[in-house]
Amino acid sequence: MNAVSTELATYNFAYLDEQTKRMIRRAILKAIAIPGYQVPFASREMPMPYGWGTGGVQVTAAILGPDDVLKVIDQGADDTTNAVSIRAFFKKVANMAVTTKTGEATIIQTRHRIPEEKLTAGQTLVYQVPIPEPLRFLEPRETETRKMHALEEYGLMHVKLYEDIARNGHIATTYAYPVKVEGRYVMDPSPTPKFDNPKMHMSEALQLFGAGREKRIYAVPPYTEVVSLDFEDHPFEIQTFDKPCALCGAENVYLDEVVLDDKGGRMFVCSDTDHCEDRRDHGHCGTMLAYDKETAR
């Protein structure tokens, strides 16, 4: 008796109760069956505030098995608060293996980025989505946006891109860039930079999107066509960077700007920390890294 009373209350595997997980799995299956379609689900209160990834956490909790290896990234980094907390959360409530290595993970929960390393069959990418409705800022009525999806009326999406060009001379949407999935549903790829949009196309990995506050789940199954919307005379383009990563010298990757001092010093480094570390371990060296070694001596 004493042993029981002193023991901490234990959670069900992966925090959510089994009925909730079944409910979420049903929503996920439906989402996979209709690529890009937003499936409503009964989102639960999670032990974190809305906006911190409650949707992603619920999707992850529903698909986790004891043998899975979880990686969590926030802005591409494994060591930011959100990523560390969610990783620790699942380590605690599911007692499972966690990793920071993209290649070793079976489930990767992400906000903002798709890892630079190519994802392979069997891996699942779970996105935390704040606003799942791509038409929302142009059409505030949910009844109307649902009807527009149902009837495939997507002219409005191009109105947004038109406005971009009219105001800025080019399509200035750089994140949450709308895509058309499998030639049918227009989907918001969550706040990922448009740099990552091409990686969604024909991806070998399953991609699941969870929006906790908005209570929606949607999915892009493996090998699905994902096309970024554009105009014939203003084609879709991804961001380019003038310099390679200052630490690992990688080119054609998404870079973060880091301000170094108040005299205008700055560096551009890989947003994907795992990719950057891996490259450095393999002997790649950027300009700032070499400089650091010099001064250290």
């Binding site: 009807k147 002219g155 105001r167 105009f231 203003h234």
Partner: protein, 258 residues
Amino acid sequence: MTDAPLLKVRDVSKFYGARIGCRNVSFELWPGEVLAIVGESGSGKTTLLNCLATRLMPTSGTIEYRMRDGQMRDLAHMGEAERRFLMRTDWGFVHQNPADGLRMAVSAGANVGERLMAVGQRHYGNIRATAGDWLRRVEIEVDRIDDQPRAFSGGMRQRLQIARNLVTSPRLVFMDEPTGGLDVSVQARLLDLVRNLVHDLGLSAIIVTHDLAVARLLSHRMMVMKDGQVIEQGLTDRVLDDPREAYTQLLVSSILQV
């Protein structure tokens, strides 16, 4: 005018519970014809217009429309997708309040271009050129193309709304008090513009108005409504110059003479 009607309306009634919106309205509209529906507030003009434009479902009666392929189709039996497609290509709807018909948060060019993009145009340059052309036709300076309608005056907004509706060359335009809320000089210019556009494009139009002067200027034929029923219809000049029903006589004699 060709020999087949564009719109055939048979015994259309709309009840709001026990109240009557409109009752047993029948008429035919021919290509190129402008029909005015006049009457006092609450006489069922707007209810009838909304029923015709499928914005409301009539309680009974049928409305048939001649599609571009020449087929007569019953609007009530059309799928929603087809009906909405019809509404944004072959039809136009000009609201009394331009804010209801415009997207106030996007530029004038995008407002005009929206229908083009909705029917699949994907060339920015062409869309913008067409939008600019239409702004010119409704007498809005082309350098206002990137301004939002918020920055426009009431008259400009109404003209922009008309341009936005006409860009897909519709065959039928519904107008609900298009000159309501505009001052008289702006009204006159707008009426002039609408009359020219209707004439140049060979549009058919159904215009709801309580202003008999608007009906006189724009319409070929008119219907007078009272308490949800059509009490008199005929050629505009005939109805206005030789009104038969007592109510129409009252209406005509109520016009203020300056």
